[in-house]
């Protein structure tokens, strides 16, 4: 409780929306509160028969932050940055190597079972459903596990089936569902007991645009209706923008940014990538105004230009390219998380060696 305010004030970029939350809502105490949280893993590599080398991985390396009740945080970082490990400590699956965490006011390890009633967790790459059961049966089983009274859970189930559009497949065994259908089922299962805190670990990975959109609408609606707190890890910047008001970026287990999305974009720039497939191999397009050449492949047949929508438009960049060579095809990519993290570094430490 006492760490909540300093932790957020310290946030780089001092998120405007984050402050609104602090001032606008009565503080119940943070729903997640962690101090100097660490977790090491010892990894033995069986690479050589004789010498088995032991290596310590600092998966989470001194994280401190507080998440106010009712807020939504986008927790992002490259693969292996320590996001899932953090979530496992928040939820009581893993014990921290050192430091402390409280979730819903509880110690996740000692009160694992009480905590389980207050949180809903979905790991996008794992299933918590029963493969051979249809969702309808899974819900019944989960209701029994959580000892939910018949009157409440049936109503809740119907609400979830309706809002997540599960109606057409609730009687199909989970193993036969598409990824999008399964994830919706997982989220419904995690919310059946109406937890005040929902934790989603890469829920949109592999989903098509339509499924992602439906999921975002649903989550926004649930938060409006029930005030559910949301901790979300994702590789999709759109998820962060649509669903959360605060962003925490981790890299190698350390926090490298805590603030709002505009602040993050201000730091790294909202770069977009234009990938151009050219009709014939061309000289590097290094002189296009307001665009930076970041890659040349296939002897100049494919080139990548990065530009900032605040400075120029895609059309202007394309026109400038058109003056130089003939374009067969193009695509525009959002910056990915890896790129954002890399740029965060560049913005804090002056670039010494170019081209990394």
């Amino acid at each position: 409780m006492t760490t909540a305010v300093p932790a957020i004030n310290r946030a780089a970029g001092a998120g405007r929306r984050t402050r609104e939350i602090l001032e606008g809502r009565p503080l119940d105490g943070p729903i997640i509160d962690m101090r100097d949280l660490r977790r090491d893993f010892t990894v033995r590599s069986p690479a050589r028969r004789l010498r088995r080398s032991k290596r310590t991985v600092h998966a989470v390396d001194g994280l401190t932050f507080a998440m106010p009740t009712g807020s939504a945080i986008g927790y992002i970082g490259a693969n292996g940055a320590g996001k899932s490990t953090t979530i496992k400590m928040i939820t009581g699956i893993l014990v921290p190597s050192s430091g402390a965490v409280r979730t819903c006011g509880l110690d996740p390890i000692h009160h694992r079972r009480q905590l389980a009633r207050r949180i809903g967790v979905v790991f996008g790459q794992r299933t918590q459903l029963w493969w051979d059961l249809p969702l309808r049966e899974s819900f019944r089983t989960l209701a029994a596990i959580h000892r939910l009274p018949e009157a409440t859970w049936l109503k809740r189930r119907d609400e979830l089936v309706d809002r997540l559009d599960l109606g057409t497949f609730v009687d199909t065994p989970v193993r036969q569902l598409s990824l999008g259908q399964r994830i919706r089922g997982e989220i419904a299962a995690a919310l059946l007991h109406s937890p005040p805190l929902l934790i989603l670990d890469e829920p949109t990975i592999g989903l098509d645009v339509l499924s992602k959109e439906r999921l975002r609408l649903f989550l926004t609606e649930q938060r409006d209706l029930h005030g559910t707190s949301l901790l979300l890890t994702t590789h999709d910047m759109d998820d962060v923008q649509r669903l959360t008001e605060r962003v925490i970026v981790v890299d190698h287990g350390r926090m490298v940014y805590d603030g709002d999305l505009p602040g993050l974009v201000g730091r790294v720039g909202a770069q977009r990538m234009m990938v151009l497939d050219l009709v014939e191999p061309s000289a590097p397009l290094s002189d296009v105004p307001d665009a930076e050449l970041v890659g040349v492949e296939a002897e100049g047949l494919r080139q990548r230009l990065s530009f900032s929508p605040e400075q120029t438009t895609a059309a202007a960049v394309l026109a400038a390219v058109g003056e130089r060579t003939e374009v067969r095809d193009l695509s525009i990519e959002e910056p990915d998380i890896e790129d954002v993290v890399r740029r965060l570094y560049l913005s804090t430490t002056p670039p010494r060696d170019a081209g990394t």
Binding site: R39, F41, V43, R44, S45, P46, G80, S84, K88, T91, G92, I93, L94, V95, S97, I109, R112, R113, Q114, A116, R117, I119, V121, F123, Q125, R126, T127, Q128, W130, D132, L133, E137, R140, T141, A144, I145, H146, R147
Partner: protein, 267 residues
């Protein structure tokens, strides 16, 4: 009490329904498990075709021993045998899912599956028992009936505890980078990792070595009023329940330590 157990009843109920849903393949599974029982009994038969008496037992007594051991083992295997697939549970994140539910992990693990097909083996054991009992000269008394029943029940409990011990040990055995990677990168390793590497030796050890003495051999001696070999007096045959309690205590401690090892709480 009934209310406390309701979650487990529902869990088991859903398992049973999903197993018996495909009747034909279920029937095949049961037949397969029966044939294992038949084969094992055939081995006993072959041995006694060559020798008359082995370890104080003649063929009829050996059949009795076989029946008691087999029923006990198959019951334990039926209820809890899937627990030796703990590497799979770890790899697929099932154990993490258990940790996210408001019930004890071991109880969830036990009720997460039930291998009804193993009833086939129980049936063979039952049939052999039905044949072997009249073949033996047993001075029946209420105490002897009790002895037979406790031998089977305690035997099943002992095997079940041994399964838990074996599962606990696997928390330490399945480690290394391969294991860690499978955690982080999901299913790609699933296909490469041999399922239940440790299961076979463990099963053999438990099915033949440990039980031969305590679960069935000594109770059989006591049933037949045969004095045991030196060092193993036949009254030990009555000690099955004590033994079961002791092994369960060890098993639960081991399980706790194993789970703590997994979550990283210590050891």
């Amino acid at each position: 009490m009934a209310d406390r157990l309701r979650p487990y009843r529902v869990l088991l109920g859903s398992r049973i329904r999903s197993q018996t849903a495909y009747r034909r393949s279920f029937a095949m599974d049961v037949l397969g498990s029966m044939s294992i029982g038949v084969l094992e009994f055939a081995e006993v038969y072959v041995i006694f075709a060559n020798v008359d008496v082995l370890g104080e037992l003649d063929f009829a007594a050996a059949a009795l021993l076989f029946a008691v051991a087999n029923i006990a083992f198959s019951l334990a295997d039926l209820v809890i045998g899937h627990i030796d697939a703990i590497p799979t549970y770890l790899r697929e994140g099932t154990l993490d899912a258990f940790l996210l539910r408001p019930l004890p992990v071991l109880a969830q693990l036990v009720t997460s599956d039930i291998s009804l097909r193993r009833l086939g083996r129980t049936a063979i054991g039952g049939a052999v028992l039905a044949v072997a009992l009249p073949l033996n000269e047993i001075a029946w008394s209420p105490a002897k009936v009790l002895l037979l029943v406790t031998a089977i029940v305690a035997g099943a409990a002992i095997f079940a505890a041994l399964f838990v011990c074996a599962a606990a040990i696997q928390f330490w055995l399945v480690e290394g980078s391969e294991f860690a990677n499978s955690f982080t990168y999901g299913g790609s390793y699933a296909a490469e990792y041999p399922a239940s590497v440790f299961a076979l030796p463990v099963r053999i050890l438990f099915a033949f070595v440990v039980p031969a003495a305590f679960v069935a051999y000594l109770p059989t001696l006591a049933l037949l009023d045969i004095p045991g070999p030196p060092g193993l007096p036949s009254w030990l045959g009555w000690c099955g329940p004590l033994m079961a309690v002791a092994i369960w205590a060890v098993a639960l401690l081991g399980w706790r330590a194993g789970l703590r090892h997994y979550t990283g709480a210590g050891s």
